[in-house]
C-alpha cells in the first residue's frame, strides 16, 4: 500500500500488503494489550482446553460434513458436501469466535463487552457467551439491520444484552462497527471489543481467523475420512470473511484445492447496489485495516446493498485481499435473486434452510457443480441457518402465514 514500509512482511498483522493498524492513537495501548494477551492465551494449554470443552459441549462441535445426495443427483456434477456450521448453538459459525474472545476477555479481567452486529448472528453469539460467562454486553446494530433481523434483536435482549441502534450512515454493519469503535475509544480501559469478523486492526483479523480455523480443520479430517482425498473446491460466502477464512485457511498449502469466496452481488453492478468488493472496490483504509473498499474517487466509502445483512459491508478482511491478489483464492458474487432461489433449492432438496448469507455460497454451488465431473468433490460452507431470515423470505418468496389462510 501507499504507506507501508518496503518490507511489509516483517510488520505485525500484515497479509501481503494488506492489514495493519490504522486507528486513533487512544486504541493503540489496548490493541497491544490484546495482542499480548492473545499470544499468551494461544499457547496456554488451559485456555485451549477450556475453549475446546465449550466448543464441544456448549456449542456442539464438531459439526457434520454432510453428503448432499439429492442435491448432487439433481445437479448432476460434483459430489456436494455441506459443512454444517448452521447446526451450531446460536445458529451460525459466529459462536466459535465469540467463545474464544469471551474467554480471552475474562482472562484479561474485562467485565464490559461491546460488539457490532450486522445480521445479528455475531450479536446473538456474543450475548450468549456474555450470559455464559457473566459479562455485561452491549451490541451496536444498524437501525436498518434491526428492522430486517428483528428476531435476533429479540434473542439478544432476552439473553440480557443491551442492543443500541445505530442511526448514522447507511444504518447497517459498517456504521455499527464505527459506533462500536467510538465506544471502545471512550471506554477503552475497562471494555473488551469482541469484533465479529476477520476485520479491523491487528490482531483481530488473525485472532478471529484462528478461532474459526476449526471449521477447515474438521472439514479436512472429515473429507479425508469419508473420501480419502481432499476436495476439488471449497465455497464460502464472504462478508467480512470470517467463515470463509476459517474453512480456507487449513487448505492454503493444498494448492490443488480451489478456494472460492462468494460476495454479495445485491441488485446489480452499480456502485451502491452490491457489496462485491473484489469486482467494484479498490484498496483503501476503512475501520483500521488496509483492504479492498467500495469507495468513490474521493475516498468516500460507498453505500452497499445486499438482501443479506451479514454481507452488506463495504470492506473485506485483509487476508482475503491478499489471497485475492496472489490468486490462491477466487472471488465471485451472487445476486439477490439467485440467492433467494438457492435458499429454496437447498431447503427442498435437502431439508436444510440456509441463512441468506450462506445461501450465496449455495448459489455458487448451483452454478458450478453441474460443470464439474462426477468424481469432483465440492464442499459448501453452510455458515448459518435461515430461521432469522423468515420474515424476509416470506415477503420475498410470497410465503403465506396464518393471517392469510
Amino acid at each position: 500500500m501507499a504507506t507501508t514500509s518496503a518490507n511489509p512482511t516483517t510488520r505485525p498483522g500484515r497479509f501481503g500488503a494488506y492489514g495493519g493498524r490504522y486507528v486513533p492513537e487512544t486504541l493503540m495501548a489496548a490493541l497491544s494489550e490484546l495482542e499480548a494477551a492473545y499470544d499468551a492465551a494461544r499457547l496456554d494449554p488451559d485456555f485451549q482446553a477450556e475453549l475446546d470443552d465449550l466448543l464441544h459441549n456448549f456449542a456442539g462441535r464438531p459439526t457434520p460434513l454432510y453428503f448432499a445426495k439429492r442435491l448432487t443427483q439433481e445437479l448432476g456434477g460434483a459430489k456436494i458436501y455441506l459443512k454444517r456450521e448452521d447446526l451450531l448453538h446460536t445458529g451460525a459459525h459466529k459462536i466459535n469466535n465469540a467463545l474464544g474472545q469471551g474467554l480471552l476477555a475474562r482472562r484479561m479481567g474485562k467485565k464490559r463487552i461491546i460488539a457490532e452486529t450486522g445480521a445479528g448472528q455475531h450479536g446473538v453469539a456474543t450475548a450468549t457467551v456474555c450470559a455464559l460467562l457473566g459479562l455485561e454486553c452491549i451490541v451496536y446494530m444498524g437501525e436498518e439491520d434491526i428492522r430486517r433481523q428483528e428476531l435476533n434483536v429479540l434473542r439478544m435482549r432476552l439473553l440480557g444484552a443491551e442492543v443500541r441502534p445505530v442511526t448514522s450512515g447507511s444504518k447497517t454493519l459498517k456504521d455499527a462497527v464505527n459506533e462500536a469503535l467510538r465506544d471502545w475509544v471512550t471506554n477503552v480501559r475497562d471494555t473488551y471489543y469482541i469484533l465479529g469478523s476477520a476485520l479491523g486492526p491487528h490482531p483481530y483479523p488473525t485472532m478471529v481467523r484462528d478461532f474459526h480455523r476449526i471449521i477447515g480443520i474438521e472439514t479436512r479430517q472429515q473429507i479425508l475420512a469419508t473420501e480419502g482425498r481432499l476436495p476439488t473446491a471449497i465455497v464460502a460466502c464472504v462478508g467480512g470473511g470470517s467463515n470463509a477464512i476459517g474453512i480456507f485457511h487449513p487448505f492454503l498449502q493444498d494448492t490443488a484445492v480451489r478456494l472460492i469466496g462468494v460476495e454479495a452481488g445485491g441488485r446489480g453492478l452499480t456502485l451502491g447496489d452490491h457489496a462485491a468488493r473484489f469486482s467494484g472496490g479498490t484498496p483503501g483504509v476503512l475501520q483500521g485495516t488496509y483492504s479492498y473498499v467500495l469507495q468513490d474517487e474521493d475516498g468516500q466509502v460507498s453505500l452497499t446493498h445486499s438482501v443479506s445483512a451479514g454481507l452488506d459491508y463495504a470492506t473485506v478482511g485483509p487476508e482475503h485481499a491478499a489471497l485475492h491478489d496472489c490468486g490462491r483464492a477466487e472471488y465471485v458474487s451472487a445476486d439477490d435473486i439467485h440467492v433467494l432461489e438457492a435458499v429454496v433449492r437447498l431447503a427442498r432438496a435437502e431439508g436444510i434452510l440456509p441463512a441468506l448469507e450462506s445461501a450465496h455460497a449455495v448459489a455458487e454451488c448451483l452454478r458450478i457443480a453441474p460443470t464439474m465431473a462426477a468424481h469432483d468433490i465440492l464442499v459448501v460452507n453452510i455458515s448459518g441457518r435461515g430461521d432469522k431470515d423468515m420474515g424476509i423470505l416470506a415477503r420475498e418468496l410470497n410465503i403465506q402465514g396464518a393471517e392469510s389462510r
Binding site: 510488520r11 464505527n178 467510538r182 477503552v188 475501520q287 469507495q295
Partner: protein, 278 residues
C-alpha cells in the same frame, strides 16, 4: 511558514471544510455540476475571521464518510460537507487561498487516511506543499505505519503531526515526539471529539509525559470549548485546540453570520484574564 504560537496559550481552530451548517444560503447546496469545484467561500471567510480573531493555526478538516474518531457534531458537519460535494482537491485550493491571504497563519490539513490514499500520497504531499500548507494530521495514522507517509512529508518539508493519548505508554510517546514536527496534539481524554464540562484531570499529566520526549509545543484538544478551559490548558500546555464547539456554532448560525459568530467566540476565548496567567 513554520507553525508558531504567537500568544500563550496558542489557539488551534478546527473547521470541517465545506460545512455551511444547518442554515446555508439557498444556492450553496451543491456544486453546479459533478466535479466542478465546490464553493468553499464560507469556510474561507470563517477561517480568515478566526485568524484575525487570534487563531494561530487553522486545521482544515477533510470530510470523510466514516469519521470513527469523531462525535456527533463533527459527524454531522462531515455529512453536510460531503453532501455539498467537498473534495480533498477543493480543500487544498482553499488552503492556497488562505496562505495567500494570511501568510503568517499556521495551516494544517486534518484528515482520515483514506481520502489521502485515494488521492495519492505523493500527489497529496506535492499539492499540499505547493498550496503553502504547514502540516498534516491524520487521525488514523500511527507512527508504526507511517514510514512512507513520513518520507513524503519530509520530502516536501511538511510537518507531520501525531496525536498522543492518555493511554499511550512511554515508548509510544517517545516515538510520537520524535516523529512529530510543528507540534504534538495531546488528546485530553479517552474518547471521541466533542464538548465536555471540564478539562480532564489526567490531561496535565499527559502533557508533562509528552514533554519528557520532545521540545515541540504541545497542543491539547478534545473537549476544549470555553475561556475557562483555554485558561486551564494554558497552565500546562502551549496551545488549545477548539473543534466541536466551533463546528457546532457554525451548524447553528446562518451561513452569512457564521464568520462573525466564530470571530466573537474566539475573541471571547482570549479575553479571559485567566488566559494570561501561567
Amino acid at each position: 511558514m513554520a507553525i508558531r504560537f504567537q500568544q500563550h496559550p496558542g489557539l488551534v481552530v478546527y473547521l470541517t471544510a465545506g460545512d455551511t451548517g444547518l442554515h446555508p444560503r439557498s444556492h450553496s447546496h451543491a456544486p453546479a455540476a459533478a466535479h466542478s469545484p465546490v464553493d468553499l467561500s464560507t469556510t474561507r471567510d470563517i477561517a480568515l475571521a478566526a485568524i484575525d480573531a487570534g487563531a494561530d493555526v487553522i486545521e482544515l478538516g477533510v470530510p470523510f464518510s466514516d469519521p470513527l474518531a469523531d462525535g456527533p457534531v463533527i459527524q454531522r458537519a462531515s455529512e453536510r460537507a460531503i453532501l455539498r460535494g467537498t473534495r480533498l482537491i477543493d480543500v487544498l485550493a482553499l488552503a492556497r487561498e488562505l496562505r495567500i491571504a494570511r501568510p503568517q497563519a499556521g495551516l494544517v490539513i486534518f484528515s482520515y487516511l483514506n481520502p489521502i490514499l485515494r488521492f495519492g500520497l505523493t500527489r497529496f504531499a506535492d499539492a499540499a506543499a505547493e498550496a503553502g500548507v504547514d502540516g498534516v494530521l491524520l487521525t488514523d495514522m500511527i507512527v508504526e505505519e507511517a514510514d512512507e507517509y513520513l518520507a513524503e512529508m519530509h520530502r516536501v518539508h511538511l510537518a507531520p503531526i501525531f496525536l498522543a493519548a492518555p493511554t499511550s505508554p512511554e515508548d509510544r510517546l517517545r516515538a510520537i515526539g520524535e516523529n512529530s514536527q510543528g507540534f504534538v496534539y495531546a488528546i485530553s481524554r479517552t474518547g471521541i471529539t466533542g464538548k465536555q464540562q471540564q478539562v480532564a484531570a489526567d490531561a496535565a499529566a499527559l502533557v508533562e509525559r509528552i514533554r519528557r520526549w520532545t521540545q515541540l509545543p504541545v497542543a491539547l484538544g478534545f473537549g476544549i470549548s470555553n475561556a475557562h478551559h483555554v485558561a486551564e490548558v494554558g497552565r500546562f500546555a502551549d496551545a488549545a485546540v477548539i473543534g466541536s464547539a466551533i463546528v457546532e456554532l457554525i451548524e447553528k448560525s446562518s451561513e452569512d453570520e457564521a464568520p462573525g459568530v466564530v470571530a466573537r467566540f474566539i475573541q471571547g476565548l482570549r479575553q479571559s484574564n485567566l488566559a494570561q496567567t501561567r
